[in-house]
């Protein structure tokens, strides 16, 4: 069409990045922006915990046990007089990083397994899927507990145990997407110009199938935070006295009737994190959907 003004002579337009487009789209969604702001805030708190926290989270002060929220201790203190606010601030480090790392572990392994199964098809697909069936047939929590007790407690082992449970789901998701996409004509076109299988998967299939994974992964971080907390709660996750949020809840459970604030504040921290990641996930889904493109 001649009515479109052509750029100055010779100037070729720059490539518009998909990432920039998605971010732009995301920034229009108020709820998603709230989610992102919350997440960034939590990340900053976790990183700068030593600067922000008013007290050492491990320092006991038997003179000030079970204090209600007051000017000196904003969130009060626990049974051995540790400052709850400081413990929650430090806890963000553990809780957030278990969540994010477990997600990354689950997604990377899931992508690998799922794209092999989906693209190769046939017997390979059959074998991989049957193995995943077995994993998925086990109740999730049971698998987690078995793995965690096999590997032992601690930060990294908890991450691995939680990530393994997610592989099957992610693999299934990506496999279904790839199977749908691989019969498209543009994949056939790749064959006709001699693209290697590796290139087809990495350059064409994954970029076109990854958005549901990103959405579900960003939402799952919230779940991992809860899961990590549950693990600590039953004593399999991070070990005391590490101020992980679930561990805080677990410690406080005996005093729930008389000192509800000990449960309330860590609970709120978990809830806000879950909410923030869910908002982000929802926003990403809308931003990545090509049907909603302008």
């Amino acid at each position: 069409m001649s009515d479109i003004t052509v750029n100055a002579a010779g100037a070729r337009p720059k490539k518009k990045s998909e990432f920039v487009r998605i971010m732009k789209e995301l920034s229009r969604n108020k709820l998603a922006v709230i989610g992102v702001v919350l997440i960034i805030l939590e990340a900053l708190i976790a990183i700068f915990a030593p600067l922000i926290a008013p007290y050492d989270p491990l320092e006991m002060n038997l003179a000030e046990t079970f204090m209600k929220p007051c000017a000196k201790h904003l969130f009060g203190t626990d049974d051995v007089g540790r400052d709850l606010l400081s413990r929650i601030i430090y806890g963000a480090r553990y809780s957030l990083s278990t969540g994010v790392l477990a997600m990354i572990f689950g997604v990377v392994c899931g992508l690998l397994v799922g794209s092999i199964a989906g693209y190769a098809g046939g017997q390979v697909d059959n074998i991989i899927m049957r193995i995943l069936d077995v994993i998925q047939a086990l109740p999730g929590m049971l698998l987690l507990i078995v793995l965690a007790s096999m590997l032992g407690g601690g930060f990294l082992n908890t991450v691995i145990a939680m990530g393994v449970g997610a592989i099957a789901g992610n693999a299934r998701l990506i496999r279904a997407q790839i199977m749908k996409e691989k019969s498209a004509e543009y994949i056939e076109a790749c064959d006709s110009i001699n693209c290697s299988k590796f290139r087809i998967v990495m350059k064409h299939l994954l970029p076109n199938t990854i958005s549901p994974i990103i959405v579900s992964a960003s939402m799952s971080i919230g779940n991992y935070v809860v899961l990590g907390s549950s693990m600590s709660f039953i004593g399999l996750g991070v070990q005391p006295p590490t101020p992980e949020w679930g561990a805080l809840l677990s410690d406080a459970r005996s005093y729930i009737a008389s000192y509800p604030h000990l449960v309330m504040f860590p609970g709120m921290a978990i809830a806000i994190t879950v909410l923030a990641f869910n908002l982000l996930g929802d926003g990403l889904r809308d931003a990545m959907d090509p049907k909603l493109k302008h």
Partner: protein
């Protein structure tokens, strides 16, 4: 007479289905000379697309021989196959699904050049520009995504990708069927221009008789995996011999309102392409069918260059 660029002998492609072998392409033989276009017409499911894809090795053939520039390329090792494939390209029907929605025009045209590993980055940049110019895409659209382009422009991108490695032979698989008539004419003219400039050899697969008449030198009519008639394009429209060709031509809605076609309405069930019986596959719908039609049919040359697969062709013709 120039040497054939593509020659196919007794090509077969069967697919296994739960109900038996589907004979998608069954014993097809032809050759196409340099710079010529072979039109392949037939109805959906007659195997015309499969034929094209089998020749350029997108599907693995079941049996038969394929020659490219006189060299047997039927059973190639991986490395030789790569080289052969570069010389044979395909343009797809649907300009919406044949381009990767997340790749720009530039990336799509660039890809075959990168994969071939024959060029430096600077050479590739230059070639991409030349290709865009060749197929008539404005330079300002170089970084556009497919969804920002209309059907005609997308099809031009597909053509540029197919021509990137200077192929000898191009399978055009219904390249204009998804386009509006005014756009279709642009693309047909472009294909013809490119053929003349680059001495390309086309196999043009379509169901549109007016398009195939316009673009082809020779035409194959396919019915359920077999070529039932093959001859020069004009001859086919002037003097169709096979009963199926006759019915097909008579069914085209003509834009000449003063001389409407005398329609031959076909009746009878369409034979299943799964484990077909040896006889003529059109016999069940053919008004000339006799017992002899249920025997295997051979291809006969009834006039120079005019081949028909019908035992009653002399009586009917």
């Amino acid at each position: 007479m120039s040497a054939p660029v593509i020659e196919v002998q007794g090509l077969k492609k069967y697919f296994s289905t739960p109900r038996g072998m589907l004979h998608a392409v069954d014993d097809v033989t032809f050759k196409i000379e340099e710079g010529k276009t072979l039109g392949v017409v037939g109805e959906s499911g007659c195997g015309k697309s499969t034929l094209g894809r089998t020749i350029i090795h997108l599907h693995e053939k079941t049996d038969g021989k394929i020659f490219l520039d006189g060299k047997d390329i039927s059973d190639l090792k991986k490395k030789e196959l790569k080289a052969a494939r570069e010389k044979m390209q395909i343009i797809f029907q649907d300009p919406y699904s044949s381009l990767d929605p997340r790749q720009t025009v530039d990336a799509t045209i660039r890809e075959p050049l990168i994969v071939s590993r024959r060029y430096t980055k600077a050479e590739i940049d230059e070639k991409v520009e030349a290709l865009m110019d060749l197929v008539g895409i404005d330079a300002r659209l170089q970084m556009a995504y497919p969804h920002e382009l209309d059907g005609g422009r997308r099809q031009r991108v597909g053509i540029a990708r197919a021509l990137a490695l200077d192929p000898r032979f191009v399978v055009c698989d219904e390249p204009v069927s998804a386009l509006d008539v005014s756009i279709q004419a642009h693309v047909l003219n472009l294909l013809k221009k490119l053929q003349q400039e680059k001495q390309l050899t086309y196999m043009f697969v379509t169901h549109d008789m007016s398009v195939v008449r316009h673009i082809s030198d020779d035409i194959c009519v396919m019915y359920l995996g077999q070529v039932v008639e093959k001859c020069e394009a004009k001859e086919l429209f002037r003097n169709p011999v096979h009963p199926y060709t006759k019915a097909l031509l008579s069914a085209i809605p003509s834009t000449d309102i003063d001389n409407p076609n005398q329609r031959e309405i076909l009746t009878g069930e369409i034979t299943s392409p799964i484990n077909p019986k040896p006889g003529c596959r059109f016999a069940a719908r053919c008004k000339y069918a006799t017992d002899a039609c249920h025997e295997p049919q051979v291809q006969e040359e009834i006039a120079p260059g005019h081949f028909v697969r019908c035992c009653r062709c002399h009586e009917i013709g």
